[in-house]
Amino acid sequence: MRQNNMLAMILAGGRGTRLHALTKKVAKPAVFYGGKYRIVDFPLSNCANSGIEVVGVLTQYESVLLNSYVAAGQRWGLDAKNSGVYVLPPREKEDANLDVYRGTADAISQNIDFVDTFDPEYVLILSGDHIYKMDYSKMLSHHKACGADATIAVIEVPMKEASRFGIMNTDETDRIIEFEEKPEHPKSNLASMGIYIFDWKLLRKMLLADMVNPDSNHDFGKDIIPAMLKEDRRLYAWKFKGYWKDVGTIDSLWEANMDLLDKNNELDLSDPSWKIYTEDVTSTPHYIGENGVVNRAFITQGCVIDGEVKNSVLFTHAKVGKGAKVYDSVLMPDAEVGDGAVLHRVIVADGVKIGKGAVVGSADSEHIELISKRVKGVE
């Protein structure tokens, strides 16, 4: 806290319903991405790399795995004295019954006591669902320079897609004059990234009022930001340039993985100055056998490959049998492709086995197929 007087709160309760079987037993932030990571590694590593020392992670939906995963703060270097990752699922309190978080803002409201113990000047609100690299300290500098009450990170999106986002309309000084949630006729293409810096004293006051407002959805985008604008508070947009992806669907999760195959891709996971940290898995380097053919692929430790892998991302301990073909696909941890099996445009969920000679997916499918159950082999 001494470094920047800012505490981060990561909203990690998302169900990610459109990821189907991948989020059946884990919340969306725990979904695997990029060969060795989970999505939540990105905001956590960003916090660590930005010099933020205290991070609260608000969990709710299927939180068992996520709670233990993020609690091991040493993975991201968030375990020094006065530093730590705090897991914050809903809890029973003296003056209230055990309740679920009713919305993004309510999740913070129910943890006002937690934030107060650190007495921060600023609070950074993040989503645990997004893949990006961002230096939050730069955003904080901007916040201070503008003398803002709140700063919202925005990214320019193609105008024709703007109606899918929360759009910020700003003046020439980047001050936000209007916020429109999924506007039919957008006036700007600055989409909110769901990343906010607030002055804690002000946010605290707004949250207390929001908690008892019967008409509120207790949501940052729907309630808190509009309320602040109504009060004529100083809200500023901070423009982010770089890779940013909210992987809501199987198709977009696949796409985000495929993005990594491009040389000089924007996310650049190999940049030593901004590493993304994750669980340290014990396994050998990956093995490529005599019959292995590997082109345009992102492959991590523990994989064993004796077939053809093209345009694909392979996670820890994925196995590709002799003569198997894995094209335009994602194999999650411990996925196994039997000898001679052929895969096109699929995501194979973790631990799922594809039998010998099976043919899965197709090269000209419109959507990516998620394989979450064992596929029998053919003789």
Partner: protein
């Protein structure tokens, strides 16, 4: 839990690896891309339930101490356990006096304080998997004073040169310890791994120091063969002794075979190492990789065949890497052909287009060199 503590000993002066050892002790040698050789004895101890491990470091301690850190990554209990790095006496008159016995004497106070009655001593220059709790069990069952782990090999004429050899009787009693001079094919190679009581260990160390200021642990145990009940227990499976440059190369190359590697890396016997947080490896359109072991964080555009590639290596377009051990952070430039070579850390082969050696005499490209 294991009723013993561990000592990881450094290699004696009989062992020297040309080139590489000038930069770091053998324990700190990069091994199979992502490991260092010392990961093996420490993981063996940790997996065997040994929670107190003393690592002795002779010289060039920087890379080793950095790698070992607090020992957290070796799964050593951070409160009840300990990974203790101990240094040799730096006031010795000559390097000849700088051997294991003098290091044990110098740190005798630490050894005395250890609250375990038995000790397992393993060398940092050997690579194998072994459950030491079972070894201790067998040692106790037999009632022997000292148990030495060995491996029977039929390649002693060409391999394990200068390593220790156990001269065994039919009952596996150790008659003497000799050096392998390559005079016979079949030998019982000592894995320099000893089990005994802490009491006896301290007694022998003191005795050796008193007897000769150049006596090593192996020397005093050899002397005691006629007095004490010293027995050998055979190890089976993958063993490598990094005793010279060629053996380092061969030890890596042998593990390219997945079946052989399964023998060293059993699923229930994890070998731990320090994470580098590197991203997965990126293969581009032009990559052509066969029969190889590749670590994370690499960028590969060229051809790799029958090689071990360390973390964070760059293999450029048109490059051909064949029968090589490439250490972490090395770069093989465009259209460069490297064959039968060990390329040390951070080396860059970019200006010369060909580094080809004979398979019997692999080439060594020095640490950080730019060719």
């Amino acid at each position: 839990m294991c009723n013993a503590f561990g000592i990881v000993n450094f290699a004696g002066s009989n062992i020297h690896v040309e080139g590489m050892q000038d930069h770091r002790p053998i324990g700190a040698f990069s091994f199979l891309g992502r490991y260092r050789t010392i990961d093996f004895p420490i993981s063996n101890m940790s997996n065997s339930g040994i929670n107190h491990i003393e690592v002795f470091v002779k010289r060039n301690p920087r890379s080793l101490t950095e790698h070992l850190g607090t020992g957290r990554h070796y799964n050593i209990n951070s409160k009840r356990g300990k990974l203790h790095i101990l240094y040799t006496d730096d006031k010795l008159q000559s390097d000849l006096y700088n051997h294991d016995v003098s290091a044990f004497m110098y740190n005798m106070e630490c050894i005395e304080k250890v609250p375990y009655p038995y000790v397992i001593i393993a060398p940092s220059y050997m690579v194998y998997s072994m459950d030491y709790s079972k070894l201790l069990e067998k040692h106790l069952e037999s009632g022997a004073d000292i148990t030495i782990l060995y491996q029977n090999v039929d390649t002693a004429k060409d391999e394990f040169m200068n390593c220790n050899v156990l001269n065994l009787n039919k009952q596996k009693g150790v008659l003497s310890i000799e050096r392998n001079r390559g005079t016979a094919k079949n030998r019982n190679i000592s894995l320099d791994t000893y089990v005994m009581s802490k009491e006896l260990f301290m007694e022998l160390v003191k005795k050796a120091a008193k007897f000769s200021s150049m006596y090593t642990l192996r020397d005093i145990i050899d002397d005691e063969c006629s007095e004490l009940d010293i027995r050998g227990i055979a190890h089976h499976g993958y063993v490598a002794a990094i005793s010279d440059f060629k053996s380092y190369y061969d030890a890596n190359m042998r593990l390219i075979d997945y079946e052989t590697a399964q023998d060293l890396f059993a699923p229930d016997w994890p070998i731990y190492t320090r994470t580098n947080d590197s991203s997965p490896t990126q293969y581009y359109e032009t990559s052509n990789v066969k029969k190889s072991v590749v670590s994370n964080g690499c960028e590969i555009e060229g051809t790799i065949e029958n090689s071990v590639i360390g973390r964070g290596c760059i293999i450029k377009k048109g490059a051909v890497v064949k029968n090589c051990v490439i250490l972490p952070g090395a770069t093989i430039g465009e259209d460069v052909h490297v064959e039968n070579a060990v390329v040390d850390k951070q080396a860059k082969i970019v200006r010369v287009k060909e580094v080809v050696a004979k398979v019997e005499e692999p080439a060594y490209v020095g640490r950080g060199d730019i060719l």
